[in-house]
Structure formats: C-alpha cells, structure tokens
C-alpha cells in the first residue's frame, strides 16, 4: 500500500528509491548501450532483418525451455541458458547463410524469414502446450513480446553488465577489422583481413545482445533498438567511432528515460523506449532540415 501511495504522485526521486525501478533503469541503460553500440554496424551491414530474425528465434528458444523444463518460469536461469544456447546455434546458421550470399539456392532473407517464423511458431505452440499441461498461465505472453520491468531480476542486470564489457572489448580489439568488414566484407576478405571470423563474431554478438535485451524490451521491439540509434548517429557523424559513441549515448539515454516512463505510465518498456527513440530520430531529421546536412569535422 505504501508503494501505491508513493506512486500516486511519483516524482523522479521517489521512483528512484524503489529497487525495482533502480534495477530497471540500470538494466535499461546497459541494454541501450549494448544495442546502440552495435546499431551503426547493423545499419551499415544491412542486418536489420537479421536482428529481427534472432529475436523471433529467441521466442522459439524460450518456448522450448519452458516446455521441456517442467514447472519452469520466465525468470529461471535454465530458461535463460537454453534460450541463449538455441539462439547461438541458429545464429551460427544465419552466419553461414549470410556468408553464402548469392551462391545459395535460397535467398538469405527468405531463409532467415522461414527459419525464424518457424522458430517463433514452435515457441508459441510449446508455451500454449505447457499452459494446458500445467494448467497455469506461466506468465503473460505480452511480457515476452514487449518486455516487463517487473520481470527483470538481478541476473539480468549482471548479464547485461557482462555483455556490455564483452561488446566494448570486442569493438576496441577488432575495431579496424570491423570497420573494413562494415565497409565491404568481400573486399576485406580479398584484402587479407579475416572477414569470416569478424562475420561470425559480429553475428554472435548480435545474438547475445538480442537474446539478453529481449528480456528488457521484448522480442518484438528489440530489433528496432538495433536500428534507430544507428540511423540517427549515421546522420550526424562522418566517421565510425564518433557514430558508435553517439549511438551509444542516444541508446542509453533513451532506454533510461524509456524505462522511467514505462514505470511512470505503467506501459511496457518496449513501447516507451522505441517511441522515445523515434521521437529522437524525428527531432534529428528536423534539425538537419533546418541546419543542412552534416559536414566533415575532425
């Protein structure tokens, strides 16, 4: 009851005193940083669809985990682990398909589209079967789809923290290879850069980001957070490093305030965050319309 009263007139500081909100804001900011730091690369490599595919696959992974581990719940570590594993396997398959390019029998977007819709369908089927079998609503499906601040646990925060460290380390260590790969993967390969390694590394990072972030913003909207900050940053910056940094700042801030609004308005974090990012995009477009296009600055 005390909590309800404090939320009746929720100031920012009031809200901050709630552990759930603290956890949500920290998890959200980290999640925003992870997604956004990869987003310029996702946009440049035209992998938006891949992010979407992995998100759908994550749903399949959750379904499998929930169904086969009896009595399991969304926030159980076993569910988390199986989902991540499932997505890493499918991520490896995407890596193969996207490298094969034109020489494959099936176009890569068709292959990804089929594989991940099937994974999602399988997930939905298994979750419903589990509900019939265990005669309970395991948890609302919309939490899986759009995220739910109440379902975040400390494990999510730790995972997101570790993921942030991994992403920043990989970007720092392989920056020049990733830069060349984003410029032209084929050219990087024939120029003696191990583009295959970078390709799989990048896809695996994407998988981890999508799977772990999808618990915050939900699987439907996670791919948008891999695109919008990158699009904004690429409109503003003329070099890759500033673009990644700009996207990361936009990502963490939009997630931070998105999570806060989600708590304030009692809406799902996914919709709050993505709409906030979209408003940013519109603002930047407007700004550029008024001030003219970007100029090279060093």
């Amino acid at each position: 009851m005390a909590r309800r009263e404090s939320m009746a007139e929720p100031t920012f500081l009031d809200a901050l005193s709630l552990p759930m909100v603290q956890r949500g804001l920290v998890a959200g900011s980290l999640c925003g940083l992870c997604c956004a730091s990869l987003s310029p690369l996702v946009v440049l490599r035209r992998m938006a669809f891949v992010g979407d595919g992995i998100a759908h696959a994550a749903f399949g992974g959750m379904g499998i985990a929930l169904f086969f581990v009896a009595g399991s719940r969304f926030e159980d570590n076993s569910v988390r682990a199986i989902t991540i594993l499932w997505c890493l396997v499918l991520g490896f398959a995407i890596g193969k398909v996207t490298r094969r390019g034109e020489s494959g029998k099936l176009a890569e977007d068709s292959a990804i589209g089929i594989a991940f819709s099937v994974s999602m369908a399988l997930g939905a089927l298994l979750i419903m079967l589990k509900q019939q079998r265990e005669r309970t609503y395991v948890q609302p499906i919309d939490a899986l789809l759009f995220g739910n601040i109440f379902l975040l646990t400390d494990v999510d925060v730790v995972l997101l923290g570790a993921l942030t460290v991994v992403i920043l380390a990989v970007l720092a260590m392989f920056f020049k290879e990733i830069f060349f790969y984003a410029f032209d993967a084929r050219l990087a390969e024939v120029s003696g850069v191990d583009a295959r390694f970078i390709h799989y590394l990048f896809i695996m990072l994407l998988v981890l980001v999508v799977v772990i972030s999808s618990r915050v913003v939900g699987i439907v909207l996670v791919s948008a957070s891999l695109i919008i900050p990158g699009v904004i940053a690429l409109r503003l910056c003329t070099r890759l490093l500033p673009a990644i940094l700009t996207a990361s700042v936009i990502g963490s801030l939009s997630f931070f305030f998105g999570m806060y609004l989600s708590h304030l308005w009692r809406v799902s974090p996914g919709s709050a965050v993505i709409l906030l990012q979209f408003v940013c995009l519109l603002a930047v477009k407007l700004l550029l319309l008024i001030r003219g296009p970007k100029v090279a600055a060093h």
């Binding site: 020049k176 050219l187 003696g192 850069v193 409109r235 890759l240 673009a243 060093h298």
Partner: protein, 300 residues
C-alpha cells in the same frame, strides 16, 4: 587466323620457361558452379612478373570466375591456382599482395569514413590483429592518395567523391598494401573517354613506380590492345594465340561468336620496353625474355 580454332583442350603456355617468375599460374583448372555446366574448362594460364595482361571475353565466359579463383574466393574442382607460387586459397593475410580493385568501387552513401580512412584500410592485413594504424600507415596512405591524384581530399567523406575519384581511391587503398599484383575488374566501364585515358596513364605510371604486375578484365578491347602487353581471351577455355600483332576485328568477331575458343595475343615489344626500363630491379627477366624468342617459332 587460320590457326585459331585448333584443339584447345589443354594448351600450354608456349612462351616462357618454367623457372621464370610467374605471378599467377593456373594448371589444368576446371570450375563449375553446377555439375555439367563448366564455366572454366582445363584452363592453363600464366601471368609473368611485370606484365600488363588484358583479359577479355564474352559475358559468361568465366572472367569473373577466374578472378575469384585467383583471389581465393573459390576453389577449383580440378587443377591448381597458384599465386606467387602458393595456392590461392591458402594465402591468408598475404592476400594483401594482390591489390584488388572491384568493378563497383562506389562507397555506400553515408558510410562514415574519410578518404584517408579508406586508403589506410589497405594496411590492415599487414598490421595484423590488435595493431592499430599509426602515423607510418597514414603517411603511406597519403603518399598513395597523392599518387592517384587525390591529394588534398584526405579529410573529405569518401562517399562524397565522384565516381572516378572513388575508383582512384580504391586503387590507392590497394596500393597502400604494397601489392605485387594489381587486379582490376572492368575498371573502365563507368568512365568516360577522358577518365579512361587518365586511368591507363595512371596504371602505366604505377607499374613503373611500384614494379607491379597488372591484370585487367575489361570489355574495352581497343584500349587494352593499345596499353596491355598481352591480351588473353577467355571463353570457357583459353587459347594462347602467339602472334605479335594487333588484335583485328576479324579475330574479335570470331572470339565473341565462338564458344570454346579463346585467343591470346602478345605485344612483346611493349613488354621488352617495360623490362628494359626496369632492368636494375633484376627480377630474373632475362631468361623469360630469351625464351620469348625461342618459343616464338613453335607456333609461327
């Protein structure tokens, strides 16, 4: 022309000695994307150090496939592709020794890189993992940019250059890696006459300066006949047509009309001049020039 359509199932290089340094060597190479429809059949082919080879042929004749084999992107089903004496697929980071200029050198709109950034990419393979390009690499890149005539544009966004400039940027990127061989895939297709003349002049200059071997795939037969030391025509197989003469319209008509034959014409005088210019470099050109003469009688 009467000797053109001889049996060409396994033509061997008639001109040079086996021990002369060859930059590219294809031995009995066959390749098919799908079984039963070979793109390349029993191709034997050598490019010698310091040469400028023009590769022509009809669409679907296997030119791009040959390039991919040399670049190590494809492996032949039969035979061997040797680049600098090593199997093309196993070159790894030494692929930097092959400067490749793709057909499409357009930098994607909004790609966040300056002209200098793109040129420096040429040094990445040589640097290896975990090492960042420093002042040394940037200086080399600036020099290459100067060489291709892009001096003063280093801080411009690469995507904002004109088409011809982007192509020269791609050449600069390839040059920064200090390649032994420059492979150009239809570089003249997007250029007007002036741009083409500029490109050939630039290549001529670069060959002398960097002692490069150049292989150019192109439809521009007239220009190639003028500038290249040798001309090879590829249409599934390669025929080595060993004659010191300019390519004639009759030959071309035959090549593009006929499916299985290919022609090979040498401009030995060009090559000799080139080697004479570069004599002090001493890459054992002597023996292979001698064999030029020795072998001429074989087909004549």
């Amino acid at each position: 022309m009467s000797d053109a359509p001889v049996a060409v199932s396994s033509p061997t290089a008639p001109v040079h000695a086996a021990d002369a340094p060859s930059v590219i060597e294809l031995k009995n190479v066959s390749f098919a994307y799908a079984p039963g429809t070979p793109v390349l059949q029993n191709v034997n082919f050598r490019v010698w150090e310091g040469e400028f080879l023009g590769l022509i042929g009809p669409n679907g004749g296997g030119k791009s496939t040959l390039l991919k084999l040399v670049l190590g992107l494809l492996s032949p089903q039969e035979g061997e592709v040797l680049v600098l004496g090593r199997k093309a697929e196993t070159l790894g980071k030494d692929r930097a020794l092959l400067g490749y200029v793709p057909q499409d050198t357009t930098v994607r709109r909004q790609f966040p890189a300056t002209v200098l950034d793109v040129a420096v990419m040429g040094t990445y393979a040589r640097l290896g993992l975990f090492r960042r390009p420093g002042e040394k690499e940037r200086t080399a890149a600036r020099e290459a940019l100067k060489h291709v005539g892009l001096e003063g544009l280093e801080t411009r966004q690469a995507a904002n250059l004109s088409g011809g400039q982007q192509q020269r940027l791609s050449i600069a990127r390839a040059l920064v890696a200090e390649p032994r061989l420059l492979l150009l895939d239809e570089p003249t297709s997007g250029l007007d006459t002036g741009g083409q003349a500029q490109l050939f002049a630039l290549l001529d200059d670069l060959r002398k300066h960097y002692k490069l071997t150049v292989v150019m795939v192109s439809h521009d037969v007239t220009a190639l006949a003028h500038y290249a030391d040798q001309l090879a025509c590829l249409s599934r197989t390669l025929h080595w047509h060993d004659r010191s003469e300019l390519i004639s319209e009759a030959v071309l008509r035959k090549v593009y009309a006929c499916e299985l034959d290919a022609f090979f014409i040498q401009h030995r005088e060009h090559l000799k001049e080139f080697h004479a210019d570069n004599a002090p470099a001493g890459h054992a050109h002597g023996p292979h020039c001698e064999h030029d003469h020795g072998a001429t009688g074989k087909h004549g």
